[in-house]
Every structure is written in structure tokens, then in C-alpha cells.
Point group: C2
Chain length 282, copies 2
């Protein structure tokens, strides 16, 4: 090699100086980010100049800022004006900020789980999920149900009315718990609305009306078994909502995913939902 020329580096040397793997350099070539200055036509050997080191460093610096190779290619093209350049960095900044917040929330949930595991010595029974539900049209009836009685006793009345109106009830039935237990006629009672989804509005009845139950974000868990054993599901939901800095903004709901006369109560499957909202910032 002519000593008066700049040093040509084989891929291994350039990789060592640049502190990257050979595979990375080949990958960057395929991605159009960094082409060897020379290619030996016979052997296919790649040759690099040290002049290319700043470009490699720029690629690695941008990657370190979180840009994809495709974005880096655009950034290196040089045909961006300052506003576009700034835009890409502002966007990346926002995405990174968002990611951090997501991970912080995750950390909170992990810590809550860990505490449960340490207290109970086992994986908690109920898994809470955040979900968005759609509004739904229902035929509903609201009443005070004395303690101990079947919460959904209005269900058969609604079904009878629907059948009389020749309307098919849609699965599954919702119960909206408008209050906790309270006194009513010397008994503890609960103010509950039984709501059966229907495909279309019905004429009013003195007891049964058609309305739209609102949708929105819910903290949700699934309970298997009879209604009396549902307390822990409520506790799990409450704790999750508290630990994750949400708060309740409406009536709790029970969704009778699996329930029928011919089933044992131990086979019932009920989803419990609490409508929630992010805690306001302090």
C-alpha cells in the first residue's frame, strides 16, 4: 500500500477503533447508514477510512438518544431544515417522557403486587385490569333489595317484559350498585339497578325503562363463585385503585358473565367493574 495514502482499515480494525461489532458495521451498510470507502472487487473485503469515524460516532450517539436506524438515516441525509430537525428531537423527547411515566406506573404496580405477595405469601387471587367499555342500551329496573336476598331478582321481571314485547335480551346482564347497604324499613338494603342489554328502545313500563348505561374506563376483575364470596374481589379492586392513584367516579357494576338457574352458584362467573379516573395532580 502506498504510504502516501491515508490508512485503509479492514472491517475488524475499524470495528475495534469504533467499539462496535463487525456485524453492526455490516448492518449499518445494509441500512444505508455507513458505506465502506472501498470494496475489494475480488474478495469482497470492506475498507474504511478513519474519516468515517465521526459519522459512525454520530450514528451511535443518535441511537443512544433512542432514534431508530431509519430515523437516523433521515437525520444524516442533511436535507432537513432546522424546524424538522427540532421537530424530531421534540417528538423523541415527548416519547421518552411518556415512556418514563409508563414505567413509573408499572413500578408502582409491581411494588403493590410485591407487597401483597409478602403479606399473603402467595399470588393474589384477583387480577385487576384496566379496560374501556362502550355505552350500552338497556332495559332496566331499580329497586331496594334487602340484605341477603338475591340482588338480581328483578331480572325475571325484565325478561318477562322483554318476551312480551318480543325483544331478545342480549347477554350479559349488568347490575349497577347505586349505594352500599343502607337502612330501609328496618332492614339493611341495597339500591340496585338490574339492566338487561337490548338491541332497541322499548315502550315505558311503570317499573321498567330503557336507557343508555354510560361507558368509559373501568378497573375490572373477575369473580368465580356465588355472590356472598365476592367481598375479596371488591377489596382487591379498591386496593388496586388506591395503589395506582386512580379514584372511583361512579357506581360499581356487576356483569353476570355466566349465571343461570341450572348452574350451581359455585359456577357463576361475574365481572366486577369500578368506573375510574386518574387522580388529579397535586
Amino acid at each position: 500500500m502506498d504510504m502516501r495514502e491515508k490508512m485503509m482499515l479492514k472491517i475488524g480494525e475499524f470495528a475495534r477503533i469504533g467499539q462496535v461489532s463487525i456485524a453492526t458495521l455490516r448492518h449499518y451498510e445494509k441500512a444505508g447508514l455507513l458505506k465502506p470507502t472501498a470494496l475489494d472487487a475480488e474478495t469482497g473485503y470492506r475498507y474504511y477510512l478513519l474519516d468515517q469515524l465521526p459519522r459512525l460516532n454520530r450514528i451511535l450517539a443518535l441511537k443512544d438518544l433512542g432514534f431508530s436506524l431509519e430515523q437516523i438515516a433521515r437525520l444524516l441525509e442533511g436535507d432537513l431544515d432546522v424546524l424538522q430537525l427540532r421537530g424530531m428531537f421534540v417528538l423523541k423527547q415527548a416519547q421518552t417522557q411518556q415512556l418514563i411515566e409508563t414505567e413509573q406506573a408499572r413500578l408502582t404496580r409491581i411494588a403493590a403486587r410485591l407487597q401483597q405477595i409478602e403479606q399473603e405469601g402467595i399470588m393474589p387471587t384477583y387480577d385487576v385490569r384496566l379496560k374501556e367499555v362502550d355505552p350500552v342500551l338497556v332495559a332496566s329496573m331499580r329497586e331496594l333489595v334487602p340484605l341477603g336476598e338475591n340482588l338480581g331478582r328483578a331480572y325475571s321481571k325484565i325478561v318477562a317484559y322483554l318476551s312480551q314485547q318480543r325483544v331478545q335480551p342480549l347477554q350479559p346482564t349488568l347490575l349497577l350498585l347505586h349505594s352500599s347497604y343502607e337502612w330501609h324499613n328496618d332492614q339493611m338494603a341495597i339500591d340496585v339497578e338490574t339492566a338487561v342489554p337490548v338491541p332497541t328502545a322499548l315502550p315505558e313500563n311503570e317499573q321498567i325503562s330503557t336507557r343508555t348505561v354510560s361507558g368509559g374506563w373501568m378497573a375490572s376483575t373477575v369473580h368465580t363463585g356465588n355472590d356472598l364470596s365476592m367481598g375479596k374481589a371488591f377489596v382487591a379492586l379498591y386496593n388496586w385503585i388506591k395503589d395506582n392513584e386512580y379514584h372511583v367516579i361512579g357506581t360499581p357494576r356487576l356483569i353476570h358473565l355466566q349465571r343461570a338457574e341450572y348452574l350451581e352458584p359455585s359456577q357463576y362467573v361475574t365481572e366486577v367493574q369500578f368506573p375510574i379516573e386518574r387522580q388529579r395532580e397535586k
Copy 2:
């Protein structure tokens, strides 16, 4: 279907209730996480029971905590004792914490870049990288070099000595800048050590000694061109170190990656390194 049996759900219904995609359910089956209760041998249709919803929710909750499907499989196996269970969560917590710190650091770097772009209206010239370098054995000579003179003027003396000792100098030469400019004999001068890597120790000489230059973490950037225009590289390094909450813990180094008599100074390639350390926590 016998009405006295539990409802069998087709994959689409189960997916809708569980708020996941059909592809996800099929994927979880392949991963051994959630098998349909029944498979129609003729059609291949998958059938699920609502009883499986809690398991799906558990899978999704664990995924939401950041576990991989393989880890979730282990967590669901149930053959973990509390210590192992706790261990997996503690590990995940630590990893998440680590990730957040990494992203925070990234955010700091993005903000610094963004500020540079807004001030200079262009992508900064120098890209700083963090790298770890190995200790290296060198033949070195330290002297005070007056302002304006070639910093590496000791280089030829060392090379001559090495040649006399029949030792090949290894590329590339290092300069260690032991001080900034200071007064010396009525002139500004800089205390600089020229260090040529050698494969083996040499006998002492009144001017040239063999020693090991320490390794460690460096903030590094690459300058192309002559030494006089190197100021901006130093500024870029200083700012990066400050912005990223490191601090300098040793002498700056210049590495003559590309430099020779026959080259134009504009073709010189020099790496500038500052040994650094994480800022102590407040």
C-alpha cells in the same frame, strides 16, 4: 348444545369478552399459557369456557407488569415457592427501576441536544460517546511545550529510541495533557506527555520511561483537522460531561488516529478523551 352445560365460547366471543385479539389467544395457546377447553376435531374450532377468563386476566396483568410470556408460564405453573415468586418480582422491580434511570439519562441527553440545535440552528459538529478503554503499556516522555509549538514534538525522539532498541511502535500515539497552559520561562507552556504504545517494557533512558497508562471510562469525541481548530471539540466534551452529570477525574488525552508527515494537517484525525466518573449523589 345442551342448555344444562356451561356456555362454550368460540374464540371470537372469548376474545371480545377478554378484550384481546384472536391472534393473541392463538399465540398464548402456542406458548402453552392458555389452552382452549375443547377443540372440534373436524373443524379445528377452539372453544373456551368463561372459567378461563381469570387465567387470561392473570396473564395480561403479569404482562402488564413487564414479564415475558416465558416468565408468565413459570409464574402460572404454580410450582414456585414464595421465595422464588418474591425473587422474580424483586428482580423485575430492579430491572424496571434501572430502565427508568436509563431513560432519565437519555432524556437529559436529548434535552441537551435540543438546546444545542436551538442555539446553533444545526446539528452539533461533535458527537460525544462514552467508552471504556483498556490500560496500555507505553514508552513516554513528559515536557513543557511552549504555546504554539507542536505538542507531539517528543514523538520523533521516542520513535528513534524505540528503533535503536529494535522495538516496533504500536499505533496510535497518545498525548496526555497534564496541565492547561501555564507560565514557563516567560512563555505560556503546556505540560504534555507523549506516549507511544509498545509491546514490551524497555530499559530506562534519562528522558524516556516505560509505564502503563491507566484505562477506564472516557467521554470521547473525534476531531478532524489540525490541532489549532480543536478547541470546539474540548468545549463539546466539557458541555456533554456537565450536562450528563459526570465529572472529569484525570488528564485529557489526545489520540493520534491519523497523523503523518506526508499528510495535510486538515486530514489529521484525533480522538479527544476525558476520563470521567458519575457525579456523586447529592
